[in-house]
């Protein structure tokens, strides 16, 4: 967080948005925009684009590792919990089973594995995606709302204060059908 004690009022980032006619056109445009050196870009589409990850140059997702960590925690946590509660802290003889009865502990161990893995996937995903996010500058543009329905948009995040002319020119040169420039609103 920067100190807001600057001379001028703080300015939000500028976003240049361009709508393309199809998913393929968007993916192509994505490659070309990155060739020009813009890396802070994103695609917005109603469904995942074919080849979209490569076009944005994204590396492998962290989600599997998060899931594995959650699953292992659930597995060992669940099993050790039962060993402690039924085996060590309050040994209880039920039907002659030993206090530490591995076969009887399997079902719950499985369930806690799945539970913790799933919870970590879900909340891990939300953390990675930084959702819920009540405000994002791209929604300043009313046309952009087609992005989750039938539009294929490319957004370029530019440093605060830039007018976005170069970026708009680039997008229109790449064949964007609609272009709008929005500025992030700060408090």
């Amino acid at each position: 967080m920067e100190h807001a004690a600057e001379h001028a009022a703080p300015v939000g980032k500028t976003y240049v948005l361009g709508r393309f006619g199809s998913g393929e056109a968007l993916v192509d445009a994505c490659y070309k925009v990155r060739e020009k050196g813009f890396e802070a870009i994103d695609t917005h589409s109603p469904y995942p684009l074919h080849g979209g990850d490569e076009a944005l140059g994204l590396s492998r997702s962290y989600v599997p590792r998060i899931a594995l960590t959650g699953g292992l925690t659930g597995m060992f946590g669940g099993y050790l919990m039962m060993v402690y509660m039924n085996g060590l802290n309050w040994p209880l003889n039920v039907g002659g089973r030993p206090p530490h009865a591995p076969p009887s502990f399997i079902p719950i161990t499985f369930e806690t594995t799945v539970l913790l893995a799933s919870l970590s996937i879900f909340f891990g995903l939300l953390t990675l995606m930084r959702l819920p996010q009540p405000y994002h500058a791209v929604f300043e543009s009313e046309q952009f709302r087609s992005a989750v329905n039938d539009g294929f948009w490319l957004s370029m995040a530019l440093p605060p204060g830039s007018d976005g002319k170069d970026a708009s020119a680039l997008l229109s040169q790449l064949g964007a059908k609609e272009i709008s420039t929005v500025r992030e609103a700060l408090e």
Binding site: G23, D42, G52, W90, L115, I121, L125, L131
Partner: protein, 468 residues
């Protein structure tokens, strides 16, 4: 006739019924799949909702009576300690399983026909598990102490007894419910965003906006989202099998003749899928008609579901056959008596109804005419639901009511509270389901768009080889 048949084969050698009818694009799909959310509820919906709501009211009444009077208000007795309550529990849990099967297992197998029906059946899973959970909760007798079953550090120095299948059940059902809700909601986020941005009023935009969490279809989000969704599907698949396996352990781990069988886990899982698909069918047939979804939920979907009903029906029938054979082959007189008693004892009516509904009814789906006939599949699905309820009743009550000592034998008759509780959960389920159909897209819109894109851009035979 023969020539006509030959022509049909020539024309349709590889082509099956389409998964999406008509030429669609993203705009038309957005409009027609969300249309029923924007439309004012019609009279039919209001009337069904009113009936369902009164069912929910009856449920509240029956729960109140149960809480005030205790479970003595039910027909349970000694020896029949488990009756309607556990029957309903197993029945509802089983119904939920189709949702997970469709959404997770068919997803892993990349069955494209799953796309139009997954949202629908996942919602069913959640509501069915809610109904299911109610019964064991009430059956504890003092549901306000139900938290004793969870491992929390209490001053009573009391831990759950983890060697009991009933505690396994607590973990299995609560995990199943949690994971189903997460999976459903995760799949719903893009569609909630779609609703937000297609909405016409500010209020709608705000409400759907809150639940959409600020989703903006970002490629960086999709990147993680796809992986997360796939992994959740991968986890749900063994989970669904484990849940009904553990439910069957409630019986199989005991020493009661008729329950103590190794075939129970697979036999229960098959039965669960069987009844679940039947329930999906019973709801889908009217819903696709009234919500105008016939172009996305096509005859191909219905026919495939009927094939699964047939296959799982055969598995269930095999289960019956094996159960009876082993009862005879074991030479154990108590085991054999239970099965003899099922077919000739006082509850034989329920037994024969079960055989009729579960063994005979699905056989009609050997015929394509029946598989593609709406009235036939609707009636068959209702019969299968009835049959599967009877199966659980037969397993539970007939195994208990004539135990080892004839002096202890007794009959079980449901009281009005039992019956109201059961019908009440059907009402509650329907209430939830009708609300779901009104406020949330019944079809996974974003997935259907993706499917549409795939179907248009890649001609089928080539993609099978080179695609994935």
């Amino acid at each position: 006739m023969a020539a006509e048949h030959a022509a049909a084969v020539a024309a349709d050698a590889l082509e099956t019924e389409p998964l999406l009818v008509g030429k669609q694009d993203n705009t038309t799909l957005t409009n027609n799949l969300l249309a029923h959310v924007w439309a004012r509820p019609d009279k039919g919906w209001l009337l069904s909702f009113l009936i369902a709501l009164s069912g929910s009211g009856a449920l509240v009444l029956a729960i109140t009576v149960t809480l005030v009077e205790g479970i003595g208000a039910w027909g349970n007795n000694i020896p029949v300690g488990w009756a309607f309550d556990i029957t309903n529990f197993v029945w509802w849990i089983g119904i939920g399983h189709a949702g997970t099967l469709i959404s997770a297992i068919l997803f892993l197998f990349q069955q494209r026909w799953r796309t139009a029906i997954n949202r629908f059946s996942e919602a069913m899973t959640i509501f069915a598990v809610m109904c299911a959970g109610l019964f064991p909760l009430l059956h504890t007798g003092r549901p306000w102490f139900a938290y004793f079953m969870f491992p929390y550090p209490s001053t009573l120095n009391m831990w759950p007894q983890f060697k009991s299948p009933l505690i396994w059940d607590v973990f299995a059902v609560s995990t199943y419910f949690t994971v189903s809700v997460l999976f459903w909601y995760l799949g719903l986020i893009p569609d909630l965003a779609s609703l937000r941005d297609a909405s016409k009023s500010t209020l709608q935009r705000k409400i759907y906006g809150i639940f959409a969490l600020g989703w903006r279809g970002s490629g960086r989000h999709w990147h993680n989202y796809k992986v997360g969704y796939l992994l959740l599907a991968g986890l749900s698949t063994p989970l669904v099998v484990s849940v009904h396996t553990i439910v069957s352990f409630d019986f199989a781990v005991s020493l009661i003749p008729g329950w103590h069988t190794t075939i129970f886990p697979p036999y229960f899982v098959a039965g669960a899928v069987f009844s679940g698909f039947a329930m999906v069918m019973s709801w889908m047939v009217p819903a696709r008609h009234f919500l105008g979804l016939k172009h996305v939920i096509t005859m191909r979907h219905l026919e495939n579901m009927n094939k699964i009903i047939l296959a799982t029906g055969m598995l269930v029938s095999y289960g019956y056959l094996m159960e009876h054979f082993i009862a005879w082959y074991s030479g154990n007189q108590f085991e054999w008596f239970v099965f003899f008693n099922r077919a000739t004892g006082p509850y034989r009516g329920v037994y024969y109804l079960m055989l009729f509904c579960n063994v005979l009814t699905p056989q009609i789906f050997w015929f394509k005419k029946a598989r593609t006939s709406i009235p036939v599949m609707f009636i068959a699905s209702i019969l299968v639901n009835i049959g599967m309820w009877c199966e659980r009743f037969v397993i539970i009550v007939t195994s208990l009511h004539r135990d080892f000592l004839p002096a202890a034998w007794d009959m079980y008759y449901p009281t009005w509270v039992d019956i109201t509780l059961f019908l009440g959960t059907i009402g509650f389920f329907s209430t939830c389901f009708l609300l779901f159909l009104k406020f949330i897209p019944a079809v996974a819109v974003s997935e259907v768009k993706e499917l549409n894109e795939e179907l248009q851009h890649r001609p089928a035979p080539v993609t099978v080889v080179t695609g994935a």
